[in-house]
Structures are given as structure tokens and as C-alpha cells.
């Protein structure tokens, strides 16, 4: 316990206040499965609940307990929180917050309505989504679309403090939740399609003052990287690792935004998150590996100093943002218990890394259709170690500007996007909502203008050819072996976060609007119910007055609502097939609603 003693000592040195840290309250809450206190269920990001009153034998009888309209249309991502008998519900822009009293039939205790300049809507790539609130020490943390971070009194909704993290006039916006670790709020930023330079920023929970900021690109000091001690695949990162991987000062508008999820290992005091695509989407305009876009980052939670990096897609050519959640679990690999981090990347590879050192243990495709790379090199003696081996036919960089590269799998939205997966310690399996979509991609030259889209590629998407015709799968994954255990075909991409429970069931939502429950061992469908709008929210569960409830936000939108509303066509199928694929607009329409389920009395 040497490390936690040191942490405690450091906390005492920097503050004369009581040594109780904000995350002590979060840790206590995550140990109590009656609460749903974090977007990802716990610091490890497992989205797993010990509640088992609703289980595989009775889930088929589940029915709607109550519903709540958020009053906002557009895409509803994330989930409400439940803490101490109060449910906190967020909305997309204008990012309202409702506190519902579960002891009084969900009566609204308070609401918070931010004032935001509506101009920010126009610079949000891909809808006005928001992936939810965070909680610690009687405080609700709201991170608005316009990048204002607000601390609210959880009992009254009164504003404690606020701070502004970015500038929407430069295309800097927010869609992500925040993570509270020790005495800091960790905050990311969106805007990779606007040439925003990504960073993770820590604000002090006490008053919102800036603690540190770690950029994804640029000089070592601004990235909080130690050339000798920050490790990459077992070797020191070296001096100027980012600067050397860009042409000139392109890193300044080079993306690497941080709009995904963060997870945290309290024993190691490390936080884990990913960085997004390099800007622009035209790879020929930014030669080099474009470090450290597309990277899993492990940092000291108190200082931000980088412990290790792993770049999944050097010199991205397909918009495979590396921001998806890094789920922490302890699993057996080759007969040894390992502290691992599991990441289902947009690029279609499921990675298992040692989360202490950043050593790469497993990298296998979690959709067999993935074709842009043959494999990730696992031979430690190879100069290609850890790099995906790109297939020339599908390389938009090798084919060059103004050439349409066809049949790339997955599409830019990735084999999986932000929708978080779940891990069950009972089955040791990961449950992953996936996309089963491929694309044609043609890069071309663009000019940078501040606050304007900086894309530089055109793309057409279509369902994975020679498969089941659907655009999604829901899979169970063995991260020790890198193998799919079972796979459920879905008509549309699965854009809803999964929930696994000790009741031997896994829940997820579909874009048509179904909440589904399946057997965690076999994938057998046990229950489905069609909610009022398509689901891109994450399923959550809690207990109130001795009863287990399961809930999910409906509200179609997000990238899925844009790409799939009118249905996809496959330009390679020829004219006859046009219109042959399902259109989301035939199944669902806008609407923001919470649906809560329970077992019958």
C-alpha cells in the first residue's frame, strides 16, 4: 500500500483541508449496487451490476414501471444517475438537468436550465448529444455543449462554481461526461473535424481552478510527457515524439480530441482514455505518424504525467478515432492473472493490454469483416511491433488524393463507436455493441479556416457485404483469447451502451427503439420492448424501496441518426440494389424519453 500512502501524503501537502478525497464518495457509491453513480457503472468502466432480482428466469415478465419525457428532441446518449433516492436526468443541448425524487413518484425536485449561445449547435459535428452527468461529494458535474463545466449542489441544483474549458468559435465543443478522481474533475474536448488540438484538462473540485492540462500533440512539456520515463510498448518515448511525427506545425491543428470515456485504477492511481482522429481526414495533407492521435493514454491522476502510451492507428487514413472506453478487468491469460485494459477500437481490433505497463497482450478483429489491416504485429523484435499491417488496396493514403478507395471495412463510424461495452466478472466475457458497416473513402485537399469544418474526404457507407445484410451485431468477446463467443445480428448498428448483471442477463438498446435482454452465457433473447424512439442511450439499473429497476433513454440521433436515417445504399451493388437496405426513418422518429422497467407486483 506504499503507493496510496504516498498519494495521501501528497494530498496533505497540497491542501490543509480534510484529507477525504472526492472519489472516496464515488468509491463508496460504486460498491453499493443499489446506486448508479457513474456513467460506466464503476471506475473500471465495467457497466456491471450485482443486482439480480431481475434475472434470466423472470426478465421475460418485465414491464414498464414509469416514463419521463425530457422535453428535448435530438439524440439522447449516456444515462441518468441514481444516488440516494434521487435520479439525475440530463438532456442533449440545451443540456438541462432534472433531479427526480424517487421517493415521491419521480416528482421534479429541481431543474437546471443552462443559458448557452445556440451558435454552438452549428459547430457540433454529428448532433447535439451529451453523454451525461457525473457525481461526487453532493455535487453534480454538468459539462455543457459550449464547454462550460458547472458544479451543482446535488440537493438543490444551486450553482457552486463554473469554468469554461474551450472556445466554440474555434469549433471546440463538448459531448462527453467528466470523470472525478481524487480532488480533480477530468475533462475532455470535442472538435476533431474542426482541427481542434485535443487535450485532457483537470480542474480542482473545490473551486474549479485549473490543475493541469495535457495536450495530445505538440511539445513534450505541453503533453506532460517525460522522454525517459513515459513508456511506449516497453521503451522510453524519447524526446519530441509528437513534433517529429508531423510536418511543420501541423500538430497545432492536428486533432487528437478527447471526447470519449475515462476509466481509473485507484491502486495504480492511473487514468486511462483515448485520443481521436488526426485532422484533416485527408492523410496526404499530414505526412507522418501524427502522434499522439489515435492513442490509449495512461496518466497519473494527480499530476497528469504520462505513464505509457499506445498508438493504435498511426497515420490514420479512415477516421478511426481512438476514443472508445478502456475497460479495466483482472482476467487470466495463459494461466496467469493479469491486470488488463480492454479496448474495442473504431478500427475493428479488440485490444487487451497490461494496464500497469502498457504491454500489448492481444489484438484481434472483433468483426471478421475488418479488412483494412491483416493483423497487428505482435513480434516484439519486429520494427513493426504493435503496428497494424495495412492492406494496400484499402489504404486511402497509398491510393492517394482524388482516388476513391472502395470496400473498406469498417466504415468511418468504426466497428464500434462511443457506445460503451459491458464486462461480467461472472462470465469473464465482454458484451459489445457493434457496427457492421463498410465504406468507400475519397480524400481530397482542403484549407483550414478557424471554426470551420476541416474534413477533406467524402465517404459512402453500406452494410458489410456478403454478411447478414444488417448494419450491426451484438457480440460476446473473450478478451484473453481475442475471440467472439457469440454474435447476434442486428438490422441497424447497435448504438446503445450495454449493461451486464448478476442476474445472468445483458441488456442493450437498438436504433429501432427496442430494449432487449439476452442470456449472458448464450445470447438467447429473453425480452424486448419497443420504446417511443430509437435508443442511443446506455442501459442502467438501480434499486429503490427494495425493488430493482432497469432504465434507458430513448431519443434517436447522433452519428447513427445522420448516417442511417434515409438508409444506406451500396454503390458497388449496382442500381438494382438501391433502396434495398432498411431506413431508420421507417422505424422511428425524434423524441427524448426515459423508460424505466420492473418486474410485475
Amino acid at each position: 500500500m506504499k503507493r496510496s500512502m504516498l498519494g495521501l501524503l501528497a494530498a496533505l501537502l497540497v491542501s490543509t483541508a480534510a484529507p477525504a478525497l472526492a472519489n472516496d464518495s464515488v468509491k463508496a457509491l460504486q460498491a453499493d449496487s443499489k446506486q448508479w453513480a457513474q456513467q460506466l457503472g464503476n471506475y473500471a468502466g465495467q457497466r456491471y451490476s450485482e443486482l439480480n432480482a431481475i434475472n434470466k428466469d423472470n426478465v421475460g415478465k418485465m414491464q414498464v414501471a414509469w416514463t419521463f419525457s425530457t422535453g428535448v428532441l435530438r439524440g439522447h446518449e449516456g444515462s441518468p444517475l441514481v444516488i440516494g433516492g434521487i435520479m439525475y436526468v440530463h438532456t442533449p443541448f440545451p443540456n438541462m438537468v432534472y433531479a427526480l425524487n424517487l421517493a415521491d413518484e419521480g416528482k421534479i425536485m429541481w431543474r437546471y436550465v443552462p443559458e448557452q449561445n445556440a451558435d454552438v449547435i452549428g459547430v457540433m459535428c454529428c448532433d447535439t448529444v451529451y453523454r451525461g452527468l457525473a457525481y461526487a461529494d453532493d455535487t453534480i458535474y454538468l459539462h455543457q455543449a459550449d464547454t462550460k463545466l458547472v458544479a451543482l449542489d446535488a440537493k438543490t441544483g444551486a450553482e457552486k462554481w463554473s469554468v469554461v474549458n474551450g472556445d466554440p468559435s474555434k469549433g471546440e465543443t463538448n459531448t462527453a461526461t467528466v470523470t472525478i478522481v481524487n480532488d480533480k474533475v477530468l475533462v475532455g474536448i470535442s472538435g476533431g473535424e474542426y482541427g481542434v488540438r485535443g487535450h485532457l484538462t483537470a480542474y480542482n473540485t473545490k473551486d474549479g481552478s485549473l490543475a493541469w492540462r495535457a495536450y495530445s500533440t505538440g511539445p513534450d512539456a505541453e503533453m506532460l510527457v517525460d522522454p525517459e520515463n513515459t513508456m511506449v510498448l516497453g521503451k522510453p518515448i524519447g524526446k519530441d515524439s509528437s513534433l517529429n511525427s508531423w510536418e511543420g506545425d501541423q500538430w497545432q491543428i492536428g486533432g487528437g480530441t478527447t471526447w470519449g470515456w475515462s476509466t481509473y485504477d485507484a491502486d495504480l492511481n492511473l487514468i486511462y482514455y483515448g485520443t481521436g482522429n488526426p485532422s484533416t481526414w485527408n492523410p496526404s495533407q499530414r505526412p507522418g505518424d501524427n502522434k499522439w492521435s489515435m492513442t490509449i493514454m495512461a496518466r497519473d491522476a494527480d499530476t497528469g504525467m504520462a505513464k505509457w502510451f499506445y498508438q493504435k492507428t498511426p497515420h490514420d487514413e479512415w477516421d478511426f478515432d481512438g476514443v472508445n472506453e478502456n475497460i479495466l478487468a483482472d482476467i487470466e491469460i495463459d494461466g496467469q492473472m493479469r491486470k488488463v485494459l480492454v479496448n474495442f477500437d473504431r478500427n475493428g481490433f479488440g485490444y487487451t493490454l497490461d494496464r500497469v505497463t502498457g504491454e500489448l497482450l492481444v489484438a484481434e478483429k472483433f468483426d471478421p469483416q475488418v479488412n483494412w489491416a491483416t493483423h497487428v504485429e505482435m513480434d516484439k523484435t519486429s520494427d513493426q511491433y504493435g503496428r497494424p499491417q495495412v492492406v494496400a488496396e484499402y489504404s486511402t493514403a497509398q491510393n492517394g488524393e482524388d482516388t476513391n478507395t472502395t470496400g473498406i471495412c469498417p466504415a468511418a463510424l468504426g466497428s464500434k463507436d462511443q457506445q460503451p461495452a459491458a464486462f461480467s466478472p461472472k462470465t469473464n466475457l465482454f458484451y459489445v455493441p457493434t457496427n457492421h458497416v463498410c465504406m468507400d473513402y475519397e480524400p481530397f485537399r482542403v484549407s483550414y479556416a478557424a471554426g470551420q469544418p476541416y474534413v477533406g474526404a467524402t465517404l459512402s457507407m453500406f452494410p458489410a457485404p456478403n454478411s447478414h445484410g444488417g448494419m450491426g451485431n451484438f457480440i460476446a468477446w473473450d478478451a484473453a483469447k481475442g475471440e467472439i463467443k457469440w454474435s447476434l445480428p442486428e438490422q441497424f448498428s447497435v448504438w446503445s451502451g450495454a449493461l451486464a448483471t448478476a442476474g445472468d442477463i445483458v441488456f442493450y438498446g437498438t436504433l429501432e427503439g427496442y430494449l432487449k435482454a439476452v442470456d449472458s452465457e448464450t445470447g438467447k433473447e429473453l425480452y424486448k420492448f419497443k420504446t417511443p424512439s430509437g435508443i442511443i442511450g446506455n442501459v442502467f439499473t438501480y434499486e429503490n424501496a427494495g425493488k430493482q429497476y432497469v432504465g434507458v433513454l430513448s431519443g434517436i440521433g447522433g452519428w447513427a441518426g445522420i448516417g442511417l436515417a434515409a438508409g444506406l445504399t451500396n454503390p458497388n451493388d449496382g442500381l438494382g440494389a438501391v433502396g434495398g437496405y432498411a431506413a431508420l426513418s421507417d422505424y422511428t422518429a425524434l423524441g427524448g424519453q426515459l423508460t424505466v422497467f420492473k418486474l410485475p407486483e
Binding site: 428532441l73 454529428c126 484549407s447 479556416a449 470551420q452 440521433g557 434515409a566 433502396g579 431508420l584
Partner: protein, 170 residues
């Protein structure tokens, strides 16, 4: 198939059902070497006997899917929240269309959060605005199907010079 032509004309007239707007004039009447124009000097598309679209309209397909697609969906078809521009380009006057792209548009109320940004300072949009317009007109009249145009004509020297001047220009 003798009903095809009048039926199509009827559909187009219905799509553009503003007062005094009988049908959509997409017939090319003149060219400046860069692109084609109808009788009222409004940019328009041409499709030759091989089914190839003119370069500017093809360019419009590419630029639409880089700049507009992330809200308005693929092929001008619209998304869950943003309108189908293949219809807007038919219903809306050309100068209104240009004005909205340049200045943006807001409909923000308790029921609506619709905001389109102003693109006036974005060369990737403004240099290709007429391209995007003729592409959307071609989609709106169903002159070209969804997806990437299968055949295109080559870029003219005049187009290349105009593009260079606009993108690098004054």
C-alpha cells in the same frame, strides 16, 4: 413507358410547389467553360449521352459529403433532425440557398434546436457552393441516383483555373 415523362414532370412540379413555380428549369442554356447555366443564369447540371455528369456536379457530390453530410445525411436525403437538401435545392430560390449557406440559419425555441452555421469564411464550402447546388438539383430531380455518380466528365482547364483562384485567392 409512355407515362414516364409526364409523371416525372408532375412530380417535379409538386416538389417545387410554390406559387408561380410551374416546374424546375434545369436545362443548360449557356456555359462559361467552368459550369453550365439555365436560361436565368442559375447554375445547372448536365449529363451527357454516356450518363456522365459534368465535373462541377461531381465535385459537388464530393464536397457535399465532406461539408454537409455530417448534419444533412448522405446523398442529400436528410437526417433525423436536418432537412433533405435535395428537396431544399428544388423548393428554394438559388439566391436564398446561397444566402443561407453563407449566413447560416437558426430556429431555436422550446420545441426546436435547429442551427446551421455560417460558411461565408470557409473556402471549402464557398469555392464549391455552385457545385454543391447543381449536385443537389441533380439529386432533387432524380437525374442522378443515390451514391457516387458512376461516370463523370473531366475537369476543364477553366474550372481548374477558377478553383485555384478561389482556394488560393485574394
Amino acid at each position: 413507358m409512355k407515362f414516364t415523362t409526364p409523371l416525372l414532370a408532375l412530380l417535379i412540379a409538386a416538389a417545387g410547389a410554390g406559387p408561380g413555380r410551374a416546374e424546375v428549369d434545369v436545362a443548360a442554356a449557356s456555359t462559361d467553360g467552368v459550369r453550365h447555366f439555365n436560361a436565368e443564369d442559375i447554375p445547372t447540371y448536365v449529363i451527357n449521352e454516356d450518363g456522365a455528369v459534368d465535373w462541377p456536379t461531381f465535385s459537388g457530390f464530393r464536397r457535399y459529403h465532406a461539408e454537409c453530410h455530417v448534419c444533412h445525411g448522405p446523398d442529400g436525403e436528410g437526417s433525423t433532425y436536418a432537412p433533405a437538401l435535395k428537396n431544399s435545392a428544388i423548393k428554394m430560390d438559388y439566391y436564398d440557398f446561397v444566402g443561407i449557406v453563407a449566413s447560416g440559419k437558426q430556429e431555436v425555441s422550446s420545441a426546436s434546436n435547429q442551427v446551421m452555421p455560417a460558411f461565408a469564411t470557409n473556402p471549402n464550402v464557398m469555392c464549391y457552393l455552385d457545385d454543391i447546388y447543381t449536385y443537389l438539383r441533380a439529386r432533387g430531380t432524380e437525374a442522378i441516383p443515390r451514391g457516387r455518380p458512376a461516370k463523370r466528365m473531366d475537369k476543364s482547364d477553366e474550372y481548374a483555373a477558377a478553383e485555384k483562384a478561389c482556394m488560393e485567392g485574394s
